[in-house]
């Protein structure tokens, strides 16, 4: 068995960034493996889980809603409850919100247009495993490509999340009408994160930015730590 930490990339019908995510994770030291949405367990030795971008189930009902009740979400939920790191990217973020594993919900962009461009982000909190390679106030450039990325939560929840350091990334400008320009949040225990920008598309300077690699490498660190903690 490879000494690279095993990172499970979940594949739903309609996922389309699963292979990019696996490639990018491999480039920062992970051993990626694909897990089909009908699976009822994660591979032995899984150190982290990634829910990739795409349009699971054609975005029917609400983005991420149908995927949030897929069979694979039971083991993903148990993995997260045991402290395992789980990262949701774009559609994966929508799935985690619909699964109530992350606070808030992603709504249609205010401008009703699909937005596809590099986005500048500011790091707001670094306590979670995902941001430990970044500094507060650091600016990251990572592309976004979504039609339903306007994060929303009620005012009370929002204030509480900000106070607890659960708002981890914000756009430096208004990209989609998200409340507080929120681009990424973590759960209360800091081991589940969702973000709309695509770190897997920003792991090589040749593609415009390697800033996404900071987040994915941190996930691989967390995967190694989790695997060491929970013997396979």
């Amino acid at each position: 068995m490879s000494d690279r930490p095993l990172v499970a990339v979940v594949v739903f019908p309609g996922s389309n960034d699963d292979r990019d995510a696996a490639w990018a994770l491999g480039s920062v030291g992970a051993e990626p493996t694909f897990v089909w949405h009908e699976e009822t367990s994660l591979p032995k030795g899984t150190g982290a889980v990634v829910l990739p971008g795409g349009f699971s189930y054609g975005d029917y009902l609400r983005t991420g809603a149908i995927a949030s009740v897929a069979p694979v979400m039971d083991p993903v939920r148990r993995f997260a409850a045991a402290g395992g790191p789980v990262l949701g990217i774009c559609n994966g973020f929508q799935v985690l919100c619909e699964a109530r594993m992350l606070p808030g919900v992603l709504r249609p962009n205010r401008q009703l247009e699909f937005v596809c461009r590099d986005a500048a982000l500011r790091v707001e909190a670094v306590d979670s495993v995902f941001l430990h390679r970044c500094a507060i106030g650091q600016e990251l450039v990572i592309p976004v490509k979504h039609g339903e990325g306007a994060w929303y939560a009620d005012e009370g929840t929002f204030v509480q999340l900000a106070a607890r350091g659960q708002i981890v990334l914000r756009y430096t400008d208004d990209v989609n009408g998200a409340l507080g320009n929120v681009a990424g949040v973590v759960n209360e225990t800091g081991n589940v994160m969702g973000l709309m920008p695509h770190p897997e598309h920003a792991v090589d300077p040749l593609l415009g930015s390697a800033d996404g690699g900071l987040l994915l490498a941190a996930l691989v660190d967390a995967a190694a730590a989790h695997r060491a903690l929970v013997p396979a």
Binding site: R62, R110, Y152, A153
Partner: protein, 76 residues
């Protein structure tokens, strides 16, 4: 089942519809866009069916953070 964006929640789709209606000359103050879900459910009584459908709404059909729902019955 009628699912609507909750009161006070920004509804960009509804705004776009209102905008287009106004362009056509209709004086519309607000437009909100939701969805209708028709379900055929077998149940002994309306109360049982309502409880079952409410659970469906909580677990999948509506997101209570942003949507409200209303259940209407037609007996077959």
């Amino acid at each position: 089942m009628l699912v609507r964006p909750k009161e006070g929640i920004l509804d960009p789709q509804g705004d776009a519809v209102r905008h287009s209606l106004r362009k056509l000359g209709f004086d519309v103050a607000t437009a909100r866009v939701g969805r209708v879900i028709d379900l055929d459910v077998e149940a002994d009584d309306a109360d049982g069916a309502r409880r079952e459908i409410e659970r469906m709404c909580q677990e999948l059909l509506a997101n209570p953070l942003i949507e409200s729902f209303e259940i209407r019955f037609e007996e077959m």
